[in-house]
Symmetry: C2
Subunit: 413 residues, 2 copies
Amino acid sequence: MRQSQLFTRVSRQVPKDEVSKNAQLLIRAGFIHKEMAGVYSFLPLGLRVLNRVIGVVREEMNAIGGQELTLTALQEKSLWEKTDRWDDRKVDVWFKTCLKNGTELGLGSTHEEPMTRLMAQYVNSYRDLPLLAYQFQTKFRNEMRAKSGIMRVREFIMKDLYSFARTEEEHAVLYASVRAAYLRIFERVGLGKLTYATFASGGIFSKYSEEFQTVSEAGEDLIYVDEASGQSLNKEVLSDEVLADLGIERERLIEKKSIEVGNIFTLGTRFSDPLGLKYRDENGQEQSAFMGCYGIGPGRVMGTIVETLSDEKGIVWPESVAPFRVHLLSLGQNERANIIYQEFTAAGIDTLYDDHDASAGEKFAESDLIGIPYQVIIGKKTIENGEVEIKRRENGLVERVALDALVGYFQKR
Amino acid sequence: MRQSQLFTRVSRQVPKDEVSKNAQLLIRAGFIHKEMAGVYSFLPLGLRVLNRVIGVVREEMNAIGGQELTLTALQEKSLWEKTDRWDDRKVDVWFKTCLKNGTELGLGSTHEEPMTRLMAQYVNSYRDLPLLAYQFQTKFRNEMRAKSGIMRVREFIMKDLYSFARTEEEHAVLYASVRAAYLRIFERVGLGKLTYATFASGGIFSKYSEEFQTVSEAGEDLIYVDEASGQSLNKEVLSDEVLADLGIERERLIEKKSIEVGNIFTLGTRFSDPLGLKYRDENGQEQSAFMGCYGIGPGRVMGTIVETLSDEKGIVWPESVAPFRVHLLSLGQNERANIIYQEFTAAGIDTLYDDHDASAGEKFAESDLIGIPYQVIIGKKTIENGEVEIKRRENGLVERVALDALVGYFQKR
């Protein structure tokens, strides 16, 4: 894409109403737009990153047999009353609204209820289980405070997967497969080294849930990590009893601030019982399905990447989620850059082409802020020498590559 | 995909609470699920079709230079008061809700206001125009009645594109390019022959808007068509004055019921004036941008395809939007079908494999209901003869193809 045709542009001014690094950088670089506190639109560059994160999550969910669908935001009161989660004292992030005839509706902040009711219609026999179903769907959460940029918002796309098993043993197998997929996801989007599967408080059906916590000063959580073993637990469950239970020594633990980028939860029959999700087992006996739920917010993952991987010059996107692979910077007007852009486009190398009339310094600063992995710099001098500079945004390393080897350089990787 | 791993299944029962053909067929075939009146979830097969319609629309919007972004559902009162569209008497489909602190919010039914405000931040000079920006985003409309299945719903994804031009003349060029893209879209999704660009009432800045109306008995609109010239107008503008203006003879017009599958509208400065979307022209004078808006609901397009192209046996998907290209039907247990499924998968032929243990008659009836374009039938007899039957869902025509030519048959098309 030619940058001159992108309606957004980079700004030097730090937005005054944002305190979080992710919002400041993403707004300055033209990735997002603040509609109001805790409500952000995704502009062309931001939507590209969000969709790439979604693409990684989708691949991993499909790889473990997840079936994608989309439920609705609008929710019926009567459904949530059956599980005692309609009352604002039980679920304190509801947005509520009304039909013209006065019927109260809610905007879903999570979807255990409609997902369970849906499956109750399709699951009859033990042959229909196990199954995994998931969606990328817009959640609404009436948060009291929203000061963390795109990491705690009132409206956001969430990937929520629900597992339905015959027994607790079968559930454990599904749970383990989703857990492994989550670790692959965080690895693939560049957060693997910073992210710990962390024990947190459970529910009726399990002692613990697990959160995926990415170490960051911007985090709202406190976790305790044993770096040698990789074990981690949330402050909320830190006690001598829990440490003994998990076999963790207190002395080895280091306190870290962290961002919750995902969570996985054993639900048991908490929802299948009241909503009648039952199946007939091999002996013809009716049993409640045993459930789990598993969430990742792609926008929060994107914000966490900005918080943890950016540097003093701007954002540093991992190649797996970058809005473009190559940022082609034309210094001065030169026809050569146009030709290279056409060659890259023809070769399927995803390129943002800075064809603006601006100084080299301005272009370098803007490119560093935007954070595309490879900067290909077409200057007069390099052209005279028959070569161009390729600069890695991640570490600033520069390679000189002969003009006729340029397309091959990117095709080989 | 193996059908035995799909959690939905086909039902013979017509849902009692649905009067529309599209909802009846789509629910029976497991494409959608009714959450409540006018609110439908998209199940795996349905989501595939919806995403393919979205894919066609996205390609055509990108081809004319549209920049994709995503705005939010949550809307600020103060923004919509500036254009006098907050009051329920002005916009009668609002869903309203509240923040914890009591601040009123709305759920967007359309997005002229936030889109215009966004562009006011980025557009300064005549050099920044023209531009086209669009999104696929969930709209909420508090409809009084909702009896038309997925064609008139309270929550749905809409593609809304907005054009921003320097002058009315430049607007006319953008408008024409979007209009042509819309005609290509309806052609590509199989509705081209049934769909008329139809004059409808305009606004302050144009005599007429244009609706894309697909002829169907299920339609809520009445249009008058001159079949010879292809001209069409909505009943709401049928008058001697309008006919004279458009050069249409009343005698040539035939009344038809139709579904509005898209609309395009000249907005002029209706939104750019109150929201301050101005640019400096070549002479340094401030001017308001001249706008247009252009909508298509991919879900309504999907419903319209079901209403107009299905037959007494079920749905007939055009290949461009079908959930799968091939429905592989294994009659009886046969290892050959497994092998063919693996070959199709390896060759990238998008296949739903009916590996259920059911009678041939049941499988044929279910496949006809689901409506995948090619049915590949693997029976014992055909295998003995070294060939399989390929049946076109569209017209029932059967071809016999040698086993070793089967993959090539689909790769060649």
